[in-house]
Symmetry: C2
Subunit: 250 residues, 2 copies
């Protein structure tokens, strides 16, 4: 079975300006790995209609699932929803059920034009109801549109998770070699990677309280192959005269 | 004068798997804003040759400057350098000066094939010498290739900074309204944005120790317009009966 693929589209001037450190990619990446969905690309684009529309169409054509974050609030810079409608070539219109629920909760007198925009969805979209926000995200086709605020995005992802397609979970194992230099074990690592072509073997220099060194990370869906590859990496580290550490050293 | 544009290309399975929280985008974004370079796109792609090559060529055609991070170490998963050579259609070959410097430092007996890869650059590339790493990054055309390890990437950026083109610095000012809801001020914000079409006015809900509310952020190169727009946003918050706070509240 091949794993479904995914992309994340971050819509956010605040990420591109450096004002905000994105944390949504890391959250979604981990959750997708657990679901067996391969995150294959991330794009960050500004709050400009043709940029959002073009990126949405490129990513939904290239991957099985697309997750967007940002731009679904009530203010002038929240333009994701109408851009998604444009990307799909469908009208952007009041979603009756969402409109009624929001109006009942907010009260008719406070349910102004700005707030009504949050009850306006691309035709055919399915709201993503969630525990953190009255205004929903939504799914249309293979595109899932979520808030940019991490707490609200996470609640939307939780609500969405049960309906996502799944694959074999993508497992990760690592061994750390404190004192090891990448250049000394590169040849041995290449040999291990060649013996396990279905795994992704990564090599990452680290600096931790315990010291500097290299983390060898194996990723894949075959637990037995992962165990074997990490055992070989452990032997490789030990052969250099260093003590291998399973998992992150303190 | 129009500001130069830029994109960041993150080459990194470890970001897509969720193993690593990227912090390089935020660092580069802030530094580019200070240089007056508009960061217009970020992409994250896996360690797969055609993905790196295609993204490099798409971004270098679309933007004035491209910054890549990741994949320039000595191990099998470090393939950025040869992919950049392929993207530019030039040979990937020993860079004599870098080779000599690395060999002299590491010693002939330890300067193995893996380490020699770090002295192999696209023909015509200019090394980015830096204080953190013997192995350089490099620039070729409008593409600047840097390490993924934040400490080393930052040292490479410092070395690169003096030769980058500049524009009018992109300034940012903000005012915080604790207790404010976006939906209540959306109409007023739209009016302010319309009065200052050259500024980017953003509205960002926050939750801080001091309370929840909305941050109004104005961004642009015209300090006088920024002051005026933030003054109007301050009035808008005060008109709702809340105390505006300049800069981030505690």
């Amino acid at each position: 079975m091949s794993n479904p693929t995914a992309a994340i589209l971050i819509i956010g001037n605040e990420i591109l300006s450096g004002r905000t450190q994105d944390v949504n990619v890391n959250f979604i990446a981990k959750r997708l790995a657990a679901l067996g969905i391969v995150l294959s690309e991330v794009r960050v684009v500004p709050d400009i209609p043709h940029r959002i529309i073009d990126a949405t169409n490129a990513l939904r054509a290239a991957y099985d699932q697309v997750f967007t974050t940002g731009g679904i609030g009530p203010t002038h810079d929240d333009i994701t929803s109408e851009c998604i409608a444009a990307a799909f070539g469908v009208p952007w219109e009041i979603h009756a059920e969402t409109f009624a629920a929001m109006e009942a909760h907010i009260g008719k007198e406070n349910f102004n034009a700005a707030r009504q925009r949050m009850a306006t969805l691309p035709r055919g979209a399915e709201p993503i109801k969630n525990s953190a926000s009255l205004a929903p995200g939504f799914s249309i086709g293979n595109v899932h549109v979520m808030a940019g605020v991490p707490r609200i995005m996470q609640a939307m992802f939780e609500a969405l998770e049960p309906v996502l397609p799944r694959g074999a979970p993508i497992l990760m194992q690592s061994v750390y070699g404190i004192g090891i230099l990448e250049g000394a074990i590169a040849k041995g690592l290449t040999a291990i990677q060649n013996r396990f072509p279905k795994l992704d073997l990564g090599s990452y220099p680290f600096r931790l309280a315990a010291g500097s060194g290299v983390a060898i990370v194996a990723k894949g869906t075959d637990a037995q192959a992962l165990n074997a590859a990490i055992a070989q990496a452990t032997t490789l580290i030990a052969a250099q005269g260093f003590e291998p550490v399973q998992g992150e050293p303190g």
